[in-house]
Subunit: 366 residues, 2 copies
């Protein structure tokens, strides 16, 4: 896969990102939301940027089965907003202060509260205010995402049965998987690694990312075909494709979280180690570590006060023990399987884009 193809993909994604953002902003303009902080907060993360990989692949999937992308636009907007509320709530839970190179939402409104002298808050109260605004912002985005799906019927004439199916898939199956993934991630990071298996970690990773990507492909295909038949071969092929790509994406995310470029990522590298996140990388490294190496690794894992030079040593050790390489290989296997799933889809500009997108998912630097 050459640079030229990636550049073309990026420009196709950017074109759709503009449309999706415009659509969301136009919808938010019509909402009655008070106070002003809450209103602005709903779209803050969208203004921060983001590659919009989920709406992009949803629209490509719709096109690849012969559908009209315009019809699926409310679903593309919905999946981005749905993803956004999970980020907003996760940032509170993970206590991350940065998102896309800017302040995480709870941190942004904590700072704003500190500056508002009318409110007269202590530092702790201001922190709580930032968290409260973030909880409610995520809730609003969640509701807005679902209500945008109803627009598929009200504005774009998609079969209401298809829309109800999408809503149930997203707000039940996907949400429960996603929330379980996130909760297990929190829990696992506090548990000693001996208590976990590689299969448990993979299931947690799939929950965190794969489920929503699977939905993106499935939704695009169902809307494109205007069918509620989950067993339609195209629907199955594309769901399987985006599901596997989503898992590959998460594996690369974990790799970038250890050896990525902070400037390109827009967030600090190393927090996964410091927070004791149980990634496949760490799991694999520990498997091949001798007693001394194991001690060193476990000493750094979940240690918030680790020095920068100790951190570098740990990263080198992880690489030496094959943690990164092993994880890259799994990601490649998923990519191959994903592309195989796509073979029954007829050739088209959209299928090309899906294939390039799959390669991009594990070749990106941010």
């Amino acid at each position: 896969m050459g640079t030229e193809q990636f550049e073309r993909l990026k420009s196709e994604l950017a074109e759709r990102a503009i449309k999706v953002r415009k659509y969301i902003f136009s919808k938010v303009d019509g909402i009655h939301l008070e106070p002003a902080d809450l209103r602005t907060a709903v779209t803050d993360y969208l203004r921060y940027g983001g590659k919009m990989l989920r709406p992009g692949v949803l629209l490509f999937s719709c096109g690849a089965v012969g559908g009209n992308e315009e019809t699926a636009l409310p679903a593309a907007a919905a999946i981005e907003l749905f993803h956004t509320w999970t980020l907003v709530h996760d940032d509170i839970i993970d206590q991350d202060e940065k998102r896309r190179g800017q302040d995480a939402l709870h941190h942004r409104y904590y700072k704003k509260a500190c500056q508002n002298l009318d409110l007269n808050l202590t530092d702790e109260q201001a922190r709580h205010y930032g968290q409260s605004i973030s909880i409610l912002t995520g809730d609003t985005q969640h509701g807005l995402a679902i209500s945008l799906l109803t627009e598929l019927f009200f504005a774009n004439g998609v079969d209401p049965k298809v829309v109800l199916l999408l809503i149930r898939e997203l707000d039940y199956t996907v949400l429960n998987t996603l929330v379980s993934g996130e909760t297990l991630d929190v829990l696992y990071s506090r548990l000693p690694i001996e208590k976990l298996t590689e299969a448990q970690i993979k299931a947690m990773l799939w929950g965190k990312t794969g489920a929503l990507y699977e939905f993106a492909g499935r939704a695009g295909a169902l809307i494109g075909l205007n069918t509620a038949d989950l067993h339609h071969p195209y629907v199955q092929a594309i769901s399987s494709f985006t599901s596997k790509c989503g898992l590959a994406f998460q594996l690369l995310d974990d790799i970038l979280g250890i050896i990525g470029d902070e400037k390109k990522l827009g967030k600090p590298v190393g927090s996964d180690i410091r927070e004791g996140k149980k990634t496949i990388i760490v799991f694999q490294a520990l498997k091949h570590a001798n007693q001394q190496q194991r001690k060193k690794l476990l000493n750094g894992l979940g240690n918030n006060f680790i020095s920068s030079s100790d951190y570098t040593e740990i990263v080198e050790l992880i690489q030496e023990l094959g943690g990164i390489e092993f994880t890259k290989n799994i990601a490649h296997t998923y990519l191959t399987e994903a592309l195989e799933a796509l073979t029954i889809i007829p050739q088209s500009k959209f299928k090309d884009l899906l294939e390039t997108w799959a390669h991009y998912m594990i070749n990106r630097e941010s």
Copy 2:
């Protein structure tokens, strides 16, 4: 309205509460949710009890327009779960440690985390764990509530257009109003009362409670008639009825929050004063206070460290200045208007129940 009618109402409500709970528990049984904490947390507040006034009035409304209550059962379950997620998130935001006489969810899982030695958490980390579980539990309940609405079509054959309308109403109009009400409540409690008007406070109160009650009546009527026509006179009459009763309910809630019986309420009385909540009661009392009384009131309002004897004095002062009486009168006006709205609905057992329910909303002690 006599005791006998209230007793009959209570038994009719209790009968439906059992059905609604059973329905929700059966649905939660089928969910894949990990870890165990999250799974239990989803139904904890339902196990605590609760009068289920919202599902009750939804089912009565369905019956009052000639519909079959059984058809509306998924919507009754949905509105209770929807209400529940707002309680779970509000308890984090309001830092309340009690709900229905038991531990608020974030407090419950904070305590559980303290006891789990495997996790090895500091007190602060355990608090954060409790909050994280509560944020995600609320999110899950929110998604589950919406997915239960889809069952109206998938299991009960309601017109899918009606179901999509209900979803849009609940997750867009109602949610935005509710979240705005809650955010303004937080914000107002930090602002000096001079910055606020009575109209602003009423709008905030309606947002917090009226909007969801309005939806309860509207949803029951739309399902009962199997119509998506929001302008149907029965739909309008019942929406207006439950909306006004909801506001009356919130006004009584504010009264009970100051002079209620802690044992009956299952939560501490006085926190509204200590947190500086801007209620109509306080607003009215301040309007008629002389300089000295005003100083006394403002000194107690938002003062977390107020002594028990000072608190008693403040409550007496509020009563002397007519704050409670004035608020009761507004609640009665809303009740009268609500009952007027109901006149076009034909007489039936369900209409009787709606009328008794309206009286109960402002005569309850908990």
